[in-house]
């Protein structure tokens, strides 16, 4: 049975809520702006609503159904305790502008999480308000720009490795910088000498992902940081891959000045089909004075304060570059992330990193006889394993392999990223997969890889057994249909 759109089954006169009749005395006070035209919003009764969305949900793949090996995305198990905690009335049912005396516990959550993020990264401060990873990147880069401007040092360039996430250059550009690429060496790591050669008085910052998107730890990270600092620049670290080293390595010890933390990756707040994320940014001592408002601060008496525009001076924070968002950040993600950190504890977080890396290496070494592993010689991988498409049969691509994997019951890996590897396949199993589960996945992947190498033309049209066959993305972009329209009025 195909599930129709709500616009095809609902009616403007149907409602799944019951509201009392209004006893209205006198005219409205809307100043003549009362809505007169129909809006065009269909309603469904509650049973129809439950059924519509339940049926829709079953067309989705999800972690709850199986391995979600998206490299760089850290699709790990989302603990159900965290969902329960986030719904406690003291967190879910408080208004961001309530008098501070009535939200002390909420401020304590933010402060406690901030404290552990700083501890885990070995940094000096943290901006909690960014709404997602890319927002956190922007926040970090703006801190750098503010710090440079504070010393009257107008720099124009940010260096970004070719293998970086697209958000890195986009963020740098959005913050008004010119982006230049840094080359990689044959190992898949940043070319230290080339970088050093490029450094100079125009370079505001280097944005590095570590572990990098080839799945490798940047061995020279400290040397890179030292060189950048010596040239008067700052080091931004993309924290998307923090899961590989959490509890084992502190970016602050490697000279990083700013790093965003995707709470929805390392700290397992649910991805929710595309968000919400949450991207706190940890900051070095040099950058902390420029962090945005608001934030929390615990005074010696143990009280946690909310520091906003009006009382920033009292907390000696007068150089804030501004405000990233209304209110105080993603509270609903903070409660979940804090519950996650406390559940794992110091030993558990270390085990997370170790199992994540072990699982990735297990995948790497269970497949590198069959699939090209371009950096398989560069040492162990971290929490993700990278493969290329060398040896695929005529006309078959990474996309075909990925779509064939759907027919085996799995979500595909990240494809065509990083850009430095042809037909890249980036696999991140995460630590919440069992060995038995990995073995099953490896067997499935080996089977499709063998078919790809043997040139099985059937793969060109995969998937065959999904809720939909391949979708025509070209048509979607060429003649965009972005909203439903009544059939008679439609194109």
């Amino acid at each position: 049975l195909e599930e129709p759109l709500i616009f095809e089954i609902g009616h403007a006169q149907t409602s799944g809520v019951d509201l009392p009749a209004i006893d209205r005395s006198g005219p409205d006070r809307l100043g003549g702006m009362a809505r007169t035209e129909p809006i065009g919003l269909p309603g469904l009764s509650e049973p129809e609503t439950i059924r519509h969305y339940t049926r829709l949900s079953r067309q989705n793949y999800a972690i709850d159904l199986g391995l979600f090996p998206l490299g760089s995305c850290t699709m790990k198990h989302n603990p159900r305790l965290n969902e329960k905690v986030a719904r406690m009335p003291g967190f879910a049912d408080v208004h961001p502008l309530q008098p501070v005396s009535t939200v002390r516990g909420a401020l304590e959550v933010i402060n406690e999480l901030a404290f552990w993020l700083i501890e885990l990264t070995g940094m000096h401060g943290v901006a909690m308000s960014p709404k997602a990873g890319a927002h956190g990147e922007l926040c970090g880069i703006l801190c750098i720009r503010a710090a440079l401007e504070a010393r009257g040092d107008a720099r124009e360039v940010i260096l970004v490795p070719e293998s970086a996430h697209g958000t890195n250059p986009a963020t740098a550009a959005f913050a008004g910088y010119r982006v230049e690429n840094i080359p990689a060496n044959a190992d898949g790591r940043v070319d230290l000498e080339a970088l050093k050669a490029r450094l100079g008085p125009d370079v505001a910052a280097v944005m590095i992902t570590n572990p990098n998107t080839c799945g490798l730890f940047e061995r020279d990270m400290k040397a890179i940081s030292d060189a950048v600092h010596a040239a008067g620049g700052f080091v931004y670290c993309d924290g998307a891959n923090f899961n590989a080293i959490v509890g084992k390595v502190r970016p602050g010890d490697l000279g990083v000045d700013a790093m965003h933390i995707n709470l929805h990756k390392t700290f397992s707040t649910p991805h929710g089909g595309g968000g919400p994320g949450s991207g706190p940014v940890v900051l070095s001592e040099a950058l902390s004075p420029y962090g945005p408002l608001p934030f929390t601060a615990r005074t010696a008496d143990g009280v946690v304060h909310l520091v906003e525009e009006e009382n920033a001076a009292a907390f000696e924070h007068t150089q804030a570059f501004g405000r990233m968002t209304a209110f105080h950040g993603q509270m609903g993600m903070f409660t979940r992330a804090l519950a996650y950190i406390l559940s794992h504890g110091a030993d558990g977080l270390k085990q997370v990193a170790e199992d994540a890396v072990l699982n990735a290496n297990y995948i790497l070494r269970s497949l590198d006889d069959l699939l090209e592993a371009p950096f398989g010689h560069s040492g162990p991988c971290m929490h993700e394993a990278l493969f290329g498409d060398k040896g695929f049969g005529e006309g078959l691509s990474t996309l075909d392999l990925a779509k064939s994997l759907i027919d085996e019951g799995y979500h595909p890996m990240t494809m065509y990223f990083p850009l430095v590897v042809h037909g890249a396949m980036l696999i991140e199993p995460t630590e919440t997969e069992s060995k038995a589960g990995l073995d099953q996945f490896i067997a499935a992947l080996r089977s499709v890889a063998e078919r790809a190498k043997s040139g099985d033309a059937r793969m060109k049209r995969a998937p065959y057994y999904a809720p939909r066959r391949r979708l025509d993305e070209t048509q979607a972009a060429r003649k965009p249909v972005l909203a439903w329209q009544e059939p008679d009025s439609a194109r």
Partner: protein
């Protein structure tokens, strides 16, 4: 450790397979000096679910939940009743634990939902196209300003003084780095918004005018007049809405001529959550602007068998394709909040939304009438939806704090929102929704009367 399935036996077998003698071998590329010798300092060891739940509950109980007090706060975040169905749906593992729908063949659930969501938002806003959501209203507001600059190739932004001060501050912050010029102002304590003053600030360099509707004081500006003035100068009108329920009672910004309509969707389905995660709504009145829009878009197409299906589309605007040339650096939407909004809106339907809006407005009228019976309390604006401003003749901030001590959450003082504006400090914003009871209004009135006596 309950979230980690590997057993020690598994770990040994796997290390053998990868040819490592210990887990440390796999971290060989991490320089010795960068490795932590022991566990993170001060962090306890792993804890039982019960222990963590207890700790979090203790923190939760240090807050005064809105349900436990007469509650009148708004100012960009509104407390509405969310049907239990909404939470049931968003907790379905297939929605909760799915990734961005980059593999459309196995993500039609999320994609169809987003397509429905986009349509709902577009219709509510009176626009042609809405995107698949953004972080929140304030960041959507900035993205609209940035988009207007791309469309008009101008750099001067006129902000209404009655724009939510956090939104204005986000725009000001970002503009510092993009070299946009911001013309802003403070609101004046008048019963009607100063449309003429705003219009007077529009010039031929203006990329856009940003107007909140209803505005931060609860007033309802005449968007049509502002739109005409902006268009006459080649500028775009950006309308900002922070209370979508209002649009069940008042005309849509698109209908009144706004070019870009952005807002906060939190009021429908999402809940208060101390400020986040919220739901940025973003729509354009004219589909011709779609390629300048930021954020994800879901579009209809067909699959290889000709069946209708949905995909993320026009991604050449986005950072993962365009990198530094993208329309925005945004790489998530607020997917689960969008789902909550869409489920709640589907339950409401047009009939329910209109009834809900009528109920909110009616209760707010009652509250305004009751509060103005208190000596010293004056209603600033005769016209409003579910939120209005009263002046107290004394520092409202102090009054709000005192009432909080007595367990009444009285509203948002203008002093909290505009600490720099001495002239506004007597003002109190009072929001009333269907969750407000007549008893709550009476409690507030009594407490206020006592505090002002």
């Amino acid at each position: 450790m309950r979230y980690l399935p590997l057993t020690d036996t598994d770990r040994e077998a796997m290390l053998a397979k990868v040819g490592a003698s210990s887990i440390d071998d796999l971290f060989a590329d991490v320089p010795e000096e960068a490795r932590l010798s022991g566990p993170i300092e001060g962090l306890p060891l792993h804890a039982s679910e019960m222990a963590v739940e207890r700790h979090m509950r203790r923190l939760s109980k240090k807050n005064l939940a809105a349900a436990d007090a007469p509650f009148f706060l708004g100012a960009g975040a509104y407390r509405h009743h969310v049907p239990a169905t909404v939470d049931h749906i968003i907790q379905r593992g297939e929605f909760l634990t799915a990734y961005t729908p980059y593999q459309p063949e196995i993500a039609q659930g999320t994609l169809q939902m987003l397509f429905e969501f986009q349509t709902q938002v577009a219709r509510l806003y009176g626009c042609a196209v809405a995107n698949a959501s953004m972080y929140d209203g304030s960041t959507a507001c900035w993205e609209a300003v940035a988009m207007a600059a791309r469309v008009t190739r101008r750099k001067r932004v006129v902000l209404s003084g009655a724009l939510h001060p956090h939104y204005a501050e986000v725009v000001r912050t970002m503009a510092k780095f993009t070299d946009d010029e911001i013309a802003d102002a403070l609101p004046s304590l008048q019963g009607t918004p100063d449309n003429d003053g705003l219009i007077a600030r529009i010039d031929d360099e203006t990329s856009c005018v940003v107007v909140q509707y209803p505005d931060i004081l609860g007033r309802i500006p005449d968007l049509a007049a502002i739109a005409d003035a902006a268009h006459a100068r080649g500028a775009l009108l950006i309308a900002v809405n922070t209370e979508p329920v209002a649009l069940g009672a008042i005309r849509s910004p698109g209908e009144l001529g706004a070019d870009i309509v952005v807002g906060e969707g939190q009021a429908i389905g999402v809940g208060l959550q101390f400020g986040g995660p919220y739901l940025g709504l973003f729509a354009v009145r004219d589909a011709k602007h779609v390629r300048q829009m930021p954020g994800r878009l879901c579009g209809e197409t067909v699959d290889a068998e000709g069946k209708r299906g949905f995909v993320l589309t026009l991604s050449t605007r986005e950072q993962h394709i365009r990198r530094e040339k993208a329309t925005s650096n945004i790489c998530t939407n607020s997917g689960l909040c969008a789902l909550a909004f869409s489920v709640h809106m589907t339950l409401l339907g047009e009939k329910g939304l209109r009834q809900l809006a009528a109920w909110n407005h009616s209760l707010a009228c009652k509250a305004a009438d009751r509060l103005t019976q208190i000596p010293g309390v004056r209603l600033l604006n005769d016209n409003f939806f579910n939120e209005f401003t009263v002046t107290l003749g004394t520092d409202a901030r102090r009054v709000v704090r005192k009432l909080a001590d007595d367990g009444v959450l009285a509203g948002v003082s203008l002093g909290r929102l505009f600490p720099q504006a001495e002239a506004l400090k007597d003002g109190l914003l009072v929001a009333v929704t269907e969750t407000t009871t007549e008893e709550d209004i009476e409690t507030l009135a009594s407490a206020l009367q006592e505090a002002l006596a």
